[in-house]
């Protein structure tokens, strides 16, 4: 999948390029608004990651121009301007999501993937990771053939991890998507919730599926050699 990154700060751009490439994306870059706009107009990208403060043409103007030209490419705004106005303005003009600097790279990845999913892949009827099975419609969860009882929030948390299976999701993203807590809370609340979920999912004797990624968050996957 091909994404366009528009960012004027060279160091930030280089790391975004590196990180996204390693996550399997084909990455084009632009250093200023006008070049970014013409690239976005002529080439077909799956998504655009765009800094709001750009030389020449800023992100707001860029997205407005792009939407007027009829391009519906999903756009993720990156902004250091942590003010509610800027967010609203960005989303009203047709940006699809925003992320405030400084952000965790895993969070950027998660949001980017969410954007891509929104426009392409349908969520599956039944999630399966190793011997874990989850049916969102009947809210039935099984591990190694044994039924597991989860509270509603535990179920939502598991479903969120399953939707992002194999991706690292940050604590703040979990708090936002599962509990609708759109801010960083001070404590290890998410750690406690994960711990309780783990007790039920990764019962002793079974290979663990929920892993902690230090400094980043959590990932649900079957790891080689852990069986």
């Amino acid at each position: 999948m091909k994404v366009l990154v528009i960012e004027d700060e060279p160091k930030a751009l280089a790391y975004l390029h590196k990180g996204l490439s390693e996550a399997g994306f084909t990455v084009d870059t632009a250093r200023e608004g006008e070049a970014g706009l013409s690239a976005a107009r002529t080439l077909d990208y799956s998504a655009i990651i765009c800094d709001v403060m750009l030389p020449g043409r800023d992100g707001f103007s860029l997205v407005g121009e792009l939407r007027r030209a009829g391009r519906q490419t999903p756009i993720l705004f990156v902004t250091a301007r942590d003010s509610i106005d800027a967010r609203v303005r960005g989303l009203e003009l047709g940006a699809d999501d925003y992320i405030v600097k400084p952000f965790a790279f895993t969070e950027l990845l998660a949001r980017l993937r969410a954007l891509l999913r929104r426009t392409s892949i349908r969520s599956p009827d039944i999630y399966r990771v190793a011997d874990l099975m989850c049916d969102p419609r009947t809210r039935r969860v099984e591990r190694a053939g044994r039924r597991i009882d989860l509270t509603p929030k535990e179920f939502t948390l598991l479903l969120f991890l399953l939707e992002h299976a194999g991706e690292v999701v940050s604590r703040s993203l979990i708090a936002e998507r599962v509990w609708d807590m759109n801010f960083d809370s001070d404590t290890n609340v998410i750690d406690v919730h994960i711990r309780r979920l783990r007790l039920k999912i990764d019962a002793s004797g079974l290979p663990p599926l929920i892993h902690t990624v230090r400094g980043a968050g959590y990932v649900l996957e079957l790891r080689e050699g852990s069986a």
């Binding site: 942590d82 708090a175 230090r214």
Partner: protein, 451 residues
């Protein structure tokens, strides 16, 4: 008078008042003089009339060159005066003169002279009249001179009053000017100074007191700000120090990939903490900016409280603390949803942290007149009385309680207060050491209905 200086106003008032007083006094003097002169003239006329009646003065006679003239009138009311052209004298008038009582009248000659006339009938003879006429020119000239002098005196008085008034105003306002000078010399470094009411006149003392009170508040705010930037730098220094040391030590020699991974992950955690500190500091700066505004929506209190409790119940359960919510189903709360949640999460994590195992935390909401009160009550250790006033301050520390990096940014309660400020509400805390703490958030009711 708007825009006039105080000195000008005082001068004008003083001058006007002094001038009116002098002018009034002079006018009264003038009136008295005029009345006295008229009374003397009338007395002279009466005496002359009496003398003429008794035959002491012949008709047409004149006691002195400018004295009164006696005139004898016949039945046809005509008469003449020797030596004077009759047309310069007042015309005789016999109509309203009663029998014996002398009657006075005044006549203005065409040339502007004033004549005073007294007339009486003389009963013993055939109907005839005696008239005494007096030219009042002497009196008129006396009064004229008086008026001229008054004019000059008043002009001088006006000038003197203006000069004196201006001087007095300047002098009277000197304490004010001095005060302005001292205030003008105040700056951020001299906020500790007080103007003091000792030397100030009573009228200015009130102003000086208010100003000193303002200085007091400014000094406190300034000190708080200085303290805050100091605290801020200190709080930031710790994670920066850790990061630096980690990087330096790990780079000192070659390590295994695992060691690098370990240190980088640890640094990432520390960086995350720094990022949260920056976010919280920025949030506070915005919350305390009086120009910031938020839009509130009516929220169902019970659902909001339950949502927050659901988020934190696992944390509470892990510490063996019971977390309950209490709110009637139809209670509505006007708030920004995300800010409300943030405030409640901050308060509850704080309460969970300070409540010992087997404790209990109650999150409740109730209506209270024109506001909704949200209360967090715990059975924790409580807060010493002397620390209670400062708990909502940034980086407030409870004495004897160390804060570890796990406790967050130290801005949790300050953010709660900031959020309540944005809502136009208040946050208050009462605590009894050993029994527990209650925090009351007061959300004013907005003029709107539940959605």
């Amino acid at each position: 008078m708007r825009g006039w200086s105080l000195a000008t106003r005082l001068t004008v008032w003083y001058t006007a008042t002094s001038f009116c007083l002098v002018a009034g006094a002079t006018w009264i003097q003038y009136r008295t003089l005029a009345r006295d002169l008229a009374a003397e003239d009338d007395q002279l006329l009466l005496e002359t009339l009496a003398a003429a009646r008794n035959g002491l003065l012949p008709a047409g006679a004149r006691a002195s060159p400018l004295g009164p003239i006696v005139r004898e009138l016949d039945a046809a009311c005509t008469g003449s005066v020797q030596g004077s052209p009759p047309r310069l004298l007042p015309p005789p008038d016999c109509r309203a003169t009663p029998a014996d009582v002398p009657a006075f009248r005044t006549w203005y000659s065409p040339s502007g002279r004033v004549w005073r006339i007294v007339s009486a009938r003389v009963p013993e003879a055939a109907p005839r009249w005696l008239e005494v006429v007096l030219d009042r020119e002497t009196d008129a000239s006396v009064l004229r001179r008086f008026r001229e002098q008054i004019g000059a005196v008043l002009a001088v008085a006006l000038l003197l009053a203006a000069i004196l008034g201006h001087g007095l105003a300047r002098r009277g306002l000197a304490p004010l000017t001095a005060l302005a000078d001292r205030v003008a010399r105040l700056d951020a470094r001299s906020l500790g100074q007080r103007l003091g009411t000792a030397a100030a006149p009573a009228e200015i003392a009130a102003l000086v007191r208010s100003f000193d009170a303002l200085l007091e508040r400014l000094e406190a705010a300034f000190a708080a700000l200085t303290q805050f930037s100091g605290d801020l730098a200190h709080e930031f220094r710790t994670p920066v120090h850790i990061l630096r040391q980690q990087a330096e030590v790990i780079l000192a020699r070659t390590r295994t990939a695992e060691e690098y991974q370990d240190v980088l992950s640890s640094m990432l955690e520390e960086l995350d903490r720094l990022r949260r500190m920056v976010d919280d500091t920025l949030f506070l700066a915005r919350a305390e900016d009086p120009r910031s505004s938020i839009s509130t929506v009516p929220l169902r209190a019970e659902a909001e409280l339950r949502g927050v409790a659901e988020y934190l119940d696992a944390l509470a359960a892990e510490r063996d603390v019971k977390l309950d919510t209490e709110a009637s189903a139809d209670l509505v709360l006007s708030a920004d949803r995300m800010l409300l949640r943030r405030a409640l999460v901050n308060l509850l994590t704080n309460a969970i942290r300070h409540t010992p195992p087997a404790g209990r935390i109650t999150l409740s909401a109730r209506g209270d007149g024109d506001a909704t009160i949200v209360e967090v009550r715990d059975t924790g250790a409580g807060i010493p009385t002397e620390s209670q006033a400062r708990v909502f301050d940034r980086y407030a520390k409870v004495p004897g309680e160390a804060r570890s990096s796990a406790d967050g940014t130290g801005l949790g309660l300050a953010i709660v207060r900031g959020i309540m400020r944005l809502h136009g509400g208040t946050a208050a805390l009462t605590s009894e050491p050993g029994c527990g703490t209650r925090v009351l958030l007061r959300f004013p009711t907005a003029n709107g209905n539940a959605t």
